[in-house]
Every structure is written in structure tokens, then in C-alpha cells.
């Protein structure tokens, strides 16, 4: 099961008042609760209204693997090879908007400014709702952050798991999501590329997030046949494509 939430922004900064405005019953009762990522805690199934909302009142839709296949294959049918770019752009726009909404939620929930919190903590706070809603567990490697790039591993990508071993990267929506979110978070343009994918027979998906020159270099090496490990090694050694 995977779910997608539609972003809604809130204007006020008063945490308790906002919590009271939530329809989510658990959130109303425990506005300061931070461990709310169990599926039955995070989502509220309203039988009367016939809808599902998350912890922050965002409407959630549950979709099947057939839907994911239909989305990916339908888009390919419509726009051909451009479907990868379309999926990336969808993810990118989603990520940019989510960065804005996330900042509001984070500052309200933890009562501290986002810029004053530890990055590793911010990232966990951002990704947990995705984990709960079926987008997979992640692992972030920030060791090269000062050099302008980072790696993200996704275990159990919903797109790759659904499509199976098709011999090529398929998680363009994730790559776009990471590019958009991190661009919004640090207010600098960043890109993302999937270096290895579960759909290529790997055990997990690996993404590179960074400045565009890093992404371009990785894309070039990937087209030349380099593996994710080769690309990672070259980037860590500070190598870029000679122009």
C-alpha cells in the first residue's frame, strides 16, 4: 500500500491552537506527541465522511500496485521516453511544495526554527511520514555534504518494487522529490539522479543529490556504463567531467 498526501499550508504559528484545529483525534488529544508514525496513529480513517486524513489534516489516498503500474505505463504510452522527465518534474514540484509545508509542521511540532535544528534530525522528521505511508525506509549519507553532494538509499521503493526487475532505473518521482525538497530546504538549486535501482536487480535504490555539475557528471558516467560504485568513488575522489 502506498499513499499520497495533498499539501495544505497553515498560517498561524500557535501550536496548541493549530493542534486543536486538526480533525485528527489523536493529534487533538496529544498535540505534542512526536512518535505518531504507526500507520493507525498517523492516518485517520473517517467512516462517516468516507475519507482518510493524515496527522496534519492532509487528505490521503490509498492506491494499489496496479495504479502505480498504470501511472508509469500510461505516461510512457502518452509521452514516450519523456515520461522519465515528466515523473521527475512531478516529484520536483511535489518536493518544493512539501519543503514549505514541512517547515511549518516542523516548527510547530518541535517549537524551534528549522534552521536551528540538526540536519540529520530534520531529515528524519521529513521522511517518517513517507515511510509510514509506504514509500520505503531510507538511509542518508551526509559525509560528502561539504563537497556539495549526498547519497540517499531507499529500501523498498514503491515504484521499483511494483515494476520488478526491468533492467533500468525507474524511481524518477523519488529523484525529483529529493531534488525539489532539498532545493526548497536549503534554498539553492539542487538536482538528483538515481545511481542504482531495485528494478535493475540491486537490493536497494541509491540516489545522488547535489549541485547540478555533480549530477551532470554522474549522468555522463552512467551513460558511459559506470556502476553506482564507480560513480560514488569518482565523486568522493573529487573527480568531475572535464569540459
Amino acid at each position: 500500500m502506498v499513499s499520497a498526501a495533498q499539501a495544505q499550508s497553515k498560517g498561524s504559528t500557535d501550536a496548541t491552537a493549530l493542534a486543536q484545529s486538526y480533525r485528527h483525534r489523536l493529534h487533538q488529544v496529544h498535540p505534542r506527541r512526536t512518535n505518531h508514525y504507526r500507520l493507525r496513529d498517523y492516518l485517520q480513517f473517517d467512516n462517516q465522511r468516507g475519507d482518510i486524513t493524515d496527522w496534519y489534516n492532509q487528505r490521503v489516498t490509498l492506491v494499489t500496485e496496479d495504479f502505480v503500474i498504470g501511472l508509469v505505463e500510461g505516461l510512457e504510452e502518452e509521452v514516450g521516453s519523456a515520461s522519465a522527465l515528466v515523473m521527475y518534474r512531478i516529484g520536483e514540484e511535489w518536493g518544493k511544495r512539501d519543503a514549505v509545508v514541512f517547515k511549518q509542521h516542523f516548527e510547530q511540532e518541535y517549537q524551534r526554527e528549522l534552521r536551528k535544528a540538526a540536519l540529520t534530525f530534520i531529515l528524519e522528521a521529513w521522511w517518517w511520514p513517507f515511510t509510514t505511508q509506504g514509500w520505503g525506509n531510507w538511509e542518508v549519507d551526509l559525509t560528502e555534504q561539504k563537497n556539495g553532494f549526498m547519497f540517499i538509499n531507499i529500501f523498498d521503493s514503491v515504484v521499483a518494487r511494483t515494476l520488478g526487475d526491468v533492467g533500468k532505473p525507474v524511481c524518477y518521482i523519488y529523484a525529483g522529490l529529493f531534488a525539489g525538497f532539498f532545493t526548497g530546504l536549503i534554498q539553492k538549486p539542487l538536482g538528483c539522479i538515481e545511481l542504482q535501482c531495485y528494478a535493475m536487480g540491486e537490493t536497494y535504490c541509491k540516489f545522488l543529490v547535489g549541485k547540478q555539475d555533480r549530477i551532470d557528471a554522474a549522468a555522463f558516467w552512467q551513460n558511459e556504463g559506470a556502476t553506482a560504485r564507480d560513480i560514488e568513488k569518482r565523486l568522493r575522489q573529487g573527480e568531475l567531467v572535464k569540459r
Binding site: N35, Y37, T120, F121, E124, W128
Partner: protein, 156 residues
């Protein structure tokens, strides 16, 4: 237990539950008084347990709560208190799954995010001993699986 009750109420809707379906309820009720007693003892001795854990941690490493020039002992105590309360509730309701899914897996990532794995490892080795000291012989086995789960996830 609550989850099992919910499952039973759904599955046995419109019919009588079979003997084997009632087994978990009998097992729970057989030790329900001990669970309540253990819960109340932990609740009443919360500060004592936390003090003891803190003493033992400081004995192992005097600067265990320091990071650079910052002292995080108050934050660590708040977090241990939170863990203890949730662990006691999990024992009371016999619901390890809710503890695991609803708290421990999330909290493990927070520990990792702050690079507190080493402190966590020692903390969740020491905590069960401090908890056991306030319980009697019949109550210790009720808390043991909760502490073991907590230790395996947070203190790995």
C-alpha cells in the same frame, strides 16, 4: 492484547468464539493483576528508577551526557522517562507490537540522527536492572520481553 481483542471481535462477529480463540484472553487475565501491580510500581518509582540509571551511567562514564560544552543530562532524562512510560504501558496492555511500531523504530532513527548510539547502548543495558529492582519475582518476567525488545532496537 487490545489488537487481539479487536481482531477477535471482528472475526467472531455473529458467532461464538472458539476455545483456542479465547486462549490469549485467558492468558492475559491470568496475570492481569500482576501486570497492573507492576505498572503501578514502575509508575510510583519512576524518579527512583531514573535516578538509579543516571547514577550507573555516570559511574561508567562521568561525561556521558556531555557533547562538547553542552550538558544534555536533562534531555536524556526526559527521553528515558518517555521510554520507561511507554515500556510500562506496553507491558500493561501486553502489546509489544504497538511499542515497536509506534515508538521504538522511530526513536531508533532519532538516536542515530543525534549519534547517540553508544549512550543508548549503555542506557538500555542498565535500565532493565533498575526496573527489576522495584518489581517482585512474579512481575519481572512480564517486563522482561518489553525490556529485551527495547534493548534490541535502541541499544543495538
Amino acid at each position: 492484547m487490545l489488537r487481539q481483542l479487536e481482531k477477535l471481535s471482528l472475526e467472531a462477529d455473529g458467532r461464538y468464539a472458539r476455545a483456542e480463540e479465547l486462549e490469549f484472553l485467558k492468558n492475559y487475565l491470568a496475570v492481569a493483576e500482576q501486570r497492573i501491580s507492576a505498572y503501578e510500581k514502575i509508575r510510583d518509582a519512576e524518579e527512583k528508577i531514573l535516578d538509579q540509571v543516571e547514577q550507573q551511567l555516570r559511574a561508567k562514564s562521568p561525561h556521558i551526557f556531555r557533547k562538547g560544552n553542552q550538558d544534555y543530562s536533562a534531555v536524556c532524562r526526559r527521553d528515558r522517562k518517555h521510554v520507561l512510560r511507554l515500556a510500562a504501558a506496553a507491558m500493561l496492555f501486553a502489546d509489544l507490537e504497538a511499542l515497536r511500531e509506534g515508538f521504538l523504530l522511530w526513536y531508533r532513527t532519532i538516536i542515530k540522527a543525534f549519534r547517540d548510539e553508544k549512550v543508548a547502548q549503555v542506557t538500555y543495558q542498565v535500565l532493565p536492572q533498575a526496573v527489576n529492582q522495584v518489581l517482585d519475582g512474579e512481575e519481572v518476567p512480564l517486563m522482561q520481553p518489553v525490556m529485551a525488545l527495547t534493548q534490541s532496537i535502541l541499544g543495538e
